[in-house]
C-alpha cells in the first residue's frame, strides 16, 4: 500500500471514529433528556 493510500485510510478512520463519537454523545444526551422527562412525569 502506498503512502497516499495509507494516509487516505487513516484519515477515513479518523473521520469515521469522530462521527461515531459525536453521534454517541448526541444520542446519549437525547436519551438522558427522555429519561429525565419520564422521571418528572412520574413525579
Amino acid at each position: 500500500m502506498d503512502a497516499r493510500r495509507k494516509d487516505q485510510q487513516l484519515a477515513a478512520l479518523l473521520a469515521a471514529a469522530g462521527i461515531i463519537g459525536c453521534a454517541l454523545v448526541y444520542w446519549a444526551l437525547q436519551i438522558q433528556q427522555v429519561l429525565e422527562t419520564l422521571a418528572m412525569a412520574r413525579g
Binding site: 500500500m1 493510500r5 494516509d7 487516505q8 485510510q9 487513516l10 484519515a11 477515513a12 478512520l13 479518523l14 473521520a15 469515521a16 471514529a17 469522530g18 462521527i19 461515531i20 459525536c22 453521534a23 454523545v25 448526541y26 444520542w27
Partner: protein
C-alpha cells in the same frame, strides 16, 4: 474528482469540524450570531412562491412530504445494501466494488429527490423550523453525511477494499449508517415539534 489540495486529511478534518460544530456550536454564543444572520433568508423563504404553495394547499404539502419519505426510503435502502455489504451482512456473493458503485447511483437519486422535496417543505414552514433546534441538528447532520459520503467514503472505497484494514471498512460503514440514521430520526422529530 476533487482537487488534490483537498487531500484526505483536510477532508476528514473538515468533516470532523462540521460534526464537532453540531455539538460544540450548540453551547456557544457564536451560534446565536450565525443563526440571527440567517433570519432574513428564512423570512423570505416563507413568502416565496414555493412557500406560498405549500402553505395554501395542505394537500400539496402532504404529497410532497410523502415523496420526501419515499426518497428517504430509496436513499436509506441503497445505504442499507452498501453498508450492509461492507459489514458482511448482505449480498456477500456480489462483488463489493460493483455493488457500491451501482447502489451509490440509487443513493444519489434518493438524496437529490429528498433535497428538492425538503426545500419545498422548508419554504412552507420556514419561520417555524428556524426556531426549532432539531431542524438545525438535522441540517448539520446532513452536511456531515454528505461530506463524509462524497469526500471520504466514496473515494476510499471506489478502488476496491481488498487493501484496506477490515476495521477501517467497518468503521466507515457504521459511521455512514449512524449519521444518516441521525438525519432521518431528527427529521421525524421536526414533525413532532412546534
Amino acid at each position: 474528482m476533487l482537487p488534490t489540495f483537498l487531500n484526505s486529511w483536510r477532508r476528514s478534518i473538515a468533516t470532523l469540524a462540521v460534526s464537532g460544530v453540531a455539538l460544540g456550536f450548540g453551547f456557544s454564543a457564536w451560534r446565536v450570531n450565525a443563526w440571527e444572520a440567517l433570519q432574513p433568508l428564512f423570512a423570505w423563504m416563507e413568502t416565496s412562491w414555493l412557500g406560498a404553495i405549500g402553505k395554501t394547499w395542505g394537500g400539496v404539502f402532504a404529497v410532497v412530504e410523502a415523496m420526501h419519505l419515499l426518497a428517504m426510503a430509496m436513499l436509506g435502502g441503497a445505504l442499507l445494501v452498501s453498508d450492509g455489504r461492507l459489514l458482511g451482512w448482505l449480498l456477500r456473493d456480489v462483488p463489493v466494488t460493483l455493488l457500491l458503485c451501482r447502489a451509490h447511483r440509487v443513493f444519489v437519486i434518493g438524496l437529490v429527490a429528498a433535497l428538492a422535496t425538503g426545500m419545498f417543505m422548508a419554504c412552507a414552514v420556514a419561520t417555524k423550523i428556524y426556531f426549532l433546534p432539531v431542524f438545525w441538528i438535522k441540517m448539520l447532520a446532513l452536511a456531515v453525511g454528505v461530506l463524509f459520503t462524497f469526500a471520504i467514503k466514496r473515494p476510499l472505497l471506489a478502488d476496491g477494499i481488498e487493501d484496506l484494514h477490515p476495521w477501517v471498512v467497518r468503521a466507515v460503514a457504521v459511521a455512514s449508517l449512524t449519521v444518516w440514521f441521525t438525519v432521518a430520526a431528527s427529521g421525524r422529530w421536526i414533525g413532532f415539534s412546534g
